[in-house]
């Protein structure tokens, strides 16, 4: 047998020590996270009721519900999705199926990475300069949704590209060998086989759009509106904006009100994320290859 000399013993002591330290570090991350989420749930949950979700804010936003904010968020998310999805999916198809390995493609990749890294407030400035002022949408749902759409574009492109590339190359070869054209192959073979992954990414981008505040701050969200938006050219309230307002701008808000709003916002985001993860899990299990 190998003899356990001093050196080796020392090595194993260090090993155990390192493992303990790293484990502690991980738990130093996990415990505060759980505490934070726990506090939000404990303090927010009692205030959430049917009335809270389906009534308007009252008394200068110190009481009442969050209904217009919730509706506004849905407007923003749906319209931004309608804009991002076709564009993002097409862009991903280009990158995954057509793009040759050249300078232009590298530039596109760099642009996508950059677009993902541009600070949200810079997106807000862009939205203000381009959609609100230049295209004359005014501060409206449309302008805010366009801003969110540009912001979400890299997310949709990245996830779509990944799921397109997970379709085996042999599927494409088989289809091309049957005489199908490139687009026919994409339309009838690649897309149907990757639609689940694409949907997962799209749903994930919903959660991002729902949570953003800075990009809609100057492009379409209002502090308070006593009515629901009627079309895409009207302003709207948004959950994230509402939480910002009641936790910093309005005085005399009872403690439970912002907690409950935060919990609803996180609830929406997590729910959407869970759906997306569930989707991915389901389709991975039922994959044909």
């Amino acid at each position: 047998m190998f003899q356990q000399n001093e050196l080796i013993k020392k090595k194993y002591v260090t090993e155990r020590l390192v493992k303990a330290i790293l484990g502690l570090m991980t738990f130093a991350l996990i415990i505060p996270t759980l505490l934070i989420l726990g506090t939000l749930v404990v303090k927010g949950a009692p205030a959430i009721s049917f009335d809270f979700i389906f009534t308007y804010p009252e008394k200068g936003m110190t009481a009442g519900g969050i209904f217009p904010a919730l509706v506004g968020t849905i407007w923003l998310v749906v319209i931004s999705l309608l804009l991002t999805c076709p564009l993002g999916i097409m862009a991903a198809i280009y990158l995954s199926e057509y793009a040759p390995d050249n300078k232009l493609t590298r530039m596109i990749n760099l642009a996508i990475l950059n677009l993902a890294g541009v600070p949200s407030i810079v997106h807000a400035l862009f939205g203000l300069g381009a959609f609100v002022l230049f295209f004359k949408f005014g501060t409206s749902i449309l302008a805010a949704s366009c801003t969110l759409a540009v912001m979400n574009l890299p997310v949709v492109i990245a996830s779509t590209r990944e799921s397109l590339q997970s379709v085996p190359q042999s599927f494409r070869m088989a289809s091309l060998n049957c005489g199908a054209s490139r687009w026919q192959t994409i339309r009838y073979v690649v897309l149907p086989n990757s639609i689940s992954g694409i949907l997962t990414g799209v749903i994930f981008s919903v959660s991002r759009a729902a949570g953003e505040t800075a990009p809609i701050l100057f492009t379409g969200a209002a502090f308070y509106l006593p009515f629901l938006p009627s079309d895409v050219f009207s302003q709207c309230m948004a959950l994230s904006m509402h939480l910002f307002t009641i936790s910093t701008q309005v005085v005399g808000v009872p403690d439970s009100y912002p907690y409950a709003t935060a919990l609803v916002l996180i609830g929406v985001v997590f729910l959407v994320n869970t759906i997306s993860v569930g989707f991915r899990y389901y389709f991975r299990k039922h994959r044909k290859w």
Binding site: T26, L37, I108, N114, I121, V122, L125
Partner: protein
């Protein structure tokens, strides 16, 4: 040759003509398919280059709004060296961005000091030491950090970290550099963890096996083999963590305490570049000097994020190429 033969031949000829026509028909159809396919492909190509278009137009539109200020009022020396940001000052209007820049640097520095060691430690633990079941749970919890919207982080800073800092350090207000740094650390940790994990995973198994074959312990393999091999990916992870911290707006606006000054300790409130835009754009008249100055800050932020992302992409890209060759 009799009559039936001739008619048969004629039939054959007309058959041939028919099939010729058929071929023509098929070719015509095929041409249609090809031309419609060309159209679709052009459309897809246009969508493909849309990201370049967007990045370019972000720059153009922000530059367009900032240009009047840049061409007249703007002084490089004032913008970078004066700590006085007084767009509405009564005696003197000054646009010194140094205090704001220092605010961003201070907050980012604190957050990086917290998030890099914790994030890397957690990434190593998750990818190398963690039992599989615990790994799944840990990853879900850390990824859920990324899903929390930034305004909720701001709310957490005000309602949870603020009282905690007041109680621990015995200070009157807990909205300061440290608070913002802690919040930003939480926000950039998922980025750092997942990117470092990717970097660790991309180290070839043969390297690791070679390390074990030499009789190294796990820790020795991590320190001498995995970390050096994953170095570029790790630097990219840190860079993107920095990018996240520099660009974060709402959480920092709510957590940092709103006071323009050059900070001397982490217990002082401050104001960052991003927070200044968010706080002041609403009240600055459109097209005014103040408004243009805020777009100039936006331009600076855009440039910073561009540089960070460019460097990170170079690091990640090189690593990939290295693996291929």
């Amino acid at each position: 040759m009799n009559l039936t033969d001739v008619t048969q031949k004629r039939g054959a000829i007309s058959d041939m003509e028919k099939s010729k026509n058929n071929v023509k028909e098929i070719l015509r159809k095929k041409r249609n398919v090809i031309s419609s396919e060309k159209m679709i492909e052009t459309f897809i190509f246009l969508c493909g280059i849309s990201s370049i278009l967007f990045i370019f137009s972000i720059f153009v539109f922000i530059f367009k709004e900032a240009y009047p200020f840049l061409s007249t009022r703007f002084e490089l020396k004032e913008f970078f060296l004066s700590p006085q940001w007084m767009p509405n000052g009564e005696a003197k209007v000054e646009y010194g961005g140094m205090a704001l820049l220092m605010g961003t640097v201070a907050v980012t520095f604190v957050s990086i000091c917290l998030s890099v060691p914790l994030g890397m430690g957690a990434a190593i633990f998750i990818s190398e030491f963690c039992p599989p079941r615990l790994r799944e749970i840990t990853k879900i919890i850390i990824e859920s950090l990324a899903a929390i919207p930034s305004v909720v982080w701001g709310f957490i800073a005000i309602t949870m970290i603020n009282p905690l800092l007041i109680a621990v350090f015995n200070i009157p207000v807990g909205l300061n550099v440290l608070n913002a740094g802690i919040i930003l650390a939480f926000m950039s940790i998922p980025v750092i963890v997942s990117l470092s994990e990717d970097a660790f995973r991309s180290v070839p198994t043969s390297f690791i096996e070679a390390g074990y074959a030499m009789g190294a312990t796990r820790f020795e393999v991590i320190r001498r083999v995995i970390i050096p091999a994953a170095k570029k990916g790790l630097i990219a992870a840190i860079l993107l963590g920095v990018g996240r911290a520099v660009g974060e707006t709402m959480a920092v606006l709510m957590a940092s305490g709103h006071s323009i000054r050059i900070v001397s300790s982490v217990m002082e409130p401050t104001r960052t570049l991003t927070a200044t835009i968010a706080a002041e754009l609403g009240e600055s008249p459109k097209g005014g000097e103040h408004y243009q100055a805020l777009f100039t800050i936006g331009l600076a932020l855009f440039t910073i994020s561009f540089i960070i992302n460019f460097l990170a992409s170079r690091l990640i890209g090189k690593k990939r190429r290295g693996k291929k060759g």
